[in-house]
Amino acid sequence: MSPLTPHPYMGNSTETAHARMLSAVGASSVEELFEQIPADHYGTQGITLPDGIVSEAELERHVDGILRSNANTRDHLSFLGAGSWQHYIPAVCDEIAGRSEFLTSVWGTPSSDHGRNQAWFEFSSQLGELLDLEFVGLPVYSWGSAGGNALRMAARLTGRNRVIVTAAIDPERRAVIESYCGKQGSARALEILDLGYDPATGQVDLDDLAAKLDDSIAAVYIDTPNHLGVFETQAAEITTRVHAVGAEMIVGTDPLSLGIVAPPASYGADIVIGSTQPLGVPLNAGGGVGGFIATRDEERYAREFPTLQVSLTDTLVAGERAFGLTLFGQSSYGSREEANDWTGNSVYLWAIRNTVYMALMGPAGFSEIGSTIISNAHETAQRLSAIDGVTVRFPSEYFKEFVIDFNDTGLTVADINKRLLADGIFGGKDLSVDFPELGQSALYCVTEVHSESDIDRLTSSLRKAVQR
């Protein structure tokens, strides 16, 4: 421990300030102020942390020295998706999300937080337009969290404790949902039944649904597009069946698809969830994820939201608008031990990115990006499948991700990806561990960021990689 040296982050870390405050409080040493803590509570092992690197130049050199070894999707050509997707982020998103006011805001009053609260309201409002739904919560941690929350909502809404969840799901997402549903068992745990997928299409196996769906089921949860990239074309039929047994229909979706694809509400989905990451949030080594939950504006649903929400309201001044938290009391901040779910800090700064992104895109932008993505993905899949031994597993109804089947190459995905990496390419996500039934397959993600020459590069590298 060094003697007191003034630290740039602490204005009062000077002898003068210490002396002035000590004198004001009538203490002769700082140690005196810790009188509440019994002596035997103090850590005996001491704190072994080194002294601080007070010089910012040295600090940056140190941290930069560690991080610069990272490869990334900017210096590499990447086809990784599977829950975190590479999309172009307009510079305006960075500018707004980087504003000190937004970065450092906490919980002020509706007036002192007015601008931020309005931005949040605009997040919900714009997402509501994309989803065709009128009640939208502030974001939760991730798509997985949203799934867990939604299933718990459904269980409360129906008073049932069994749920059916698509098997064509991101295993990360599935694992989060399990934690929310109480995998390890407990009084209020929800039982999860797997909903198989058709090996030909990657879509829901309707027979399996029929076998499992009955009036003990609280909810059926499917994704469209799902983890294998495909749209669920039977979604309307499934919803009808789910509603027939009095269960809730939960649909997860990619908001970037909604410029060209019908929103789940249009075929009756009750709770719609998904990821906010595609809407202007960086990959962040996985730290870019965020989730949303939306329903019709019906009290029945609203009363079960675990999230915070902002609502438009008026002020003491006629004609003026402000924003306040609605249904705060039902959040865990208000309900404590009576809580039926919980909330806390989430990814509210990403909601700022999301709202800016949606405002920049507008209806035309969403329509165009959907078209570009689906076109680029299909074109890429077609070109890859021209390579000997390479096939597309579910060749028709997909959006931006598709499964490439390498079984005929006799190579593992791991080997292929190593070869691609040597060419500066991150190949698709290896599915062989989580989806053994697909053998040596990989999930490729192609979006608007990929140019034709990128695909030429991939094609030629992959052609080389699978030659033996």
Binding site: H7, N12, H76, T109, Q126, A187, A236, D297, G344
Partner: protein
Amino acid sequence: WSEPVIMEMGAPGRRGTVPPTAWGSGDPSAFVPSGLRRTQAPGLPEMSEPDVLRHYLHLSQQTMGMVGISLFGTCTMKYNPRISERIIARPYVADVHPAQDPATMQGVLQIVHQFSEALTALSGMAAFTFQPGGGAAAAFTHTAVTRAYHASRGELGQRTEIITTAQAHPSSPSTAAAAGFDVITLPTEEDGYPSVEALRAAVSDRTAALMVNNPDDMGIYNPHIKEWVDIVHEAGGLCFYDHANFNGVMTRLRAAELGFDACMFMLHKTFGVTKGGGGPAVGAYGCSEELSKFLPGPRLEKVNDGFVLVESPSSLGRIREYLGNVPQVIAAYTWLTAMGGNGLREAADLSVLTNNYMEKRILKIPGITKAFPQVTKRRLEMTRFSLAEITAETGVTAVDIQNRMTDFGIDAFWLSHEPWTIPEPFTPEAGEAWSIEDIDYWIDVLAHVVDEARSDAELVKTSPHNQAVARANMSGLDDPERWATTWRAYQRKNGQQ
């Protein structure tokens, strides 16, 4: 400057940003299954890029944040160094994909590892996970670990109760309840915390865990905490230390040495990372060697030539996707590296010293009292006060005063978590970053507003007067006929659709 809601802005045909065009030959719409095509365009605004930019710049200017002065309380408002923001915005963080071959992201993994080691030094816990996206998520993680632990011993059926205190943060009882436990909340007693006797009475072979913080939000430290931990351990329960109030005790207390099995740190508060209005955040959850096998995965392991990610067979799975909010971990690492052990010690010292300085001055304002005045030992990193006498005298409430203070560039203080153990509470926290001048200014404004309450109560009750908008009407926010979380709902309910 009254900024419209963006849904009212724009004009048909305007473009804010234009995505790349497809380079393939096919007709894109043919790729969408016919039954799934969107038939009506979403009702989003159509705006030019500069108009979107200016709109959100205006909203940022109508947000006080820490550009004003915020001594929020319970949330440890710190300086968020810009160097951290500069680093995490770079491609080697922002553009790293979580599914990259770990060999290509050793820099990220190394920092995650090193920061975990630093938290081990501060807490004595054996292992940490950064998956929890905030303090509440860390508390929930503890309930999941608790389930996994007792399940592994075949006792989960029996262990149905989690014990907390009235001064615990809401995240403890709420996550315990959400995880399916019955919650026993011990009431606060004369000394400012529940008695050992009350704990003994609550503990049984049904006890799954204890979830507490210490010191609490009143700055009161429970000196019997080691005995508490022993009692719970004897009954077979696990003890979780909510370290949200770590700031005043960092480098002095180590959770493991007090006997706790697990603890959590809020990186977005205690470790200098931005709040962002409420995340992205990290509730770093750490636990003992024994519990570590249950931690949500993947687990980071150091091998000869670097770090690898390993799935543990006993892991409870995931609390959140991937490794959590990695940029925030890197920012926390950067902050901690700048502070060092000596800096943390100074921060804890300053946090307590400045709080005592504030308390001294605040209590000189007539009508302001301290919660639990009978606890005469110096409070730690914050003190809870009450404005009840002033409310009784003038009708002006803590919320009124909070609003009025914003007119002077001071953002809201924290009142109190539920339940309010004292009337009209407020709980500022000085932290270590604010200068003594700002602290003095804060107190001067408080004193001035208390004077205003006495001389012109209406002025305070109708405040704020210098903000972007006046006092919000909160009356309809829980009314299904009036709430509106989207513009479309608002229009419908107001007959504008």
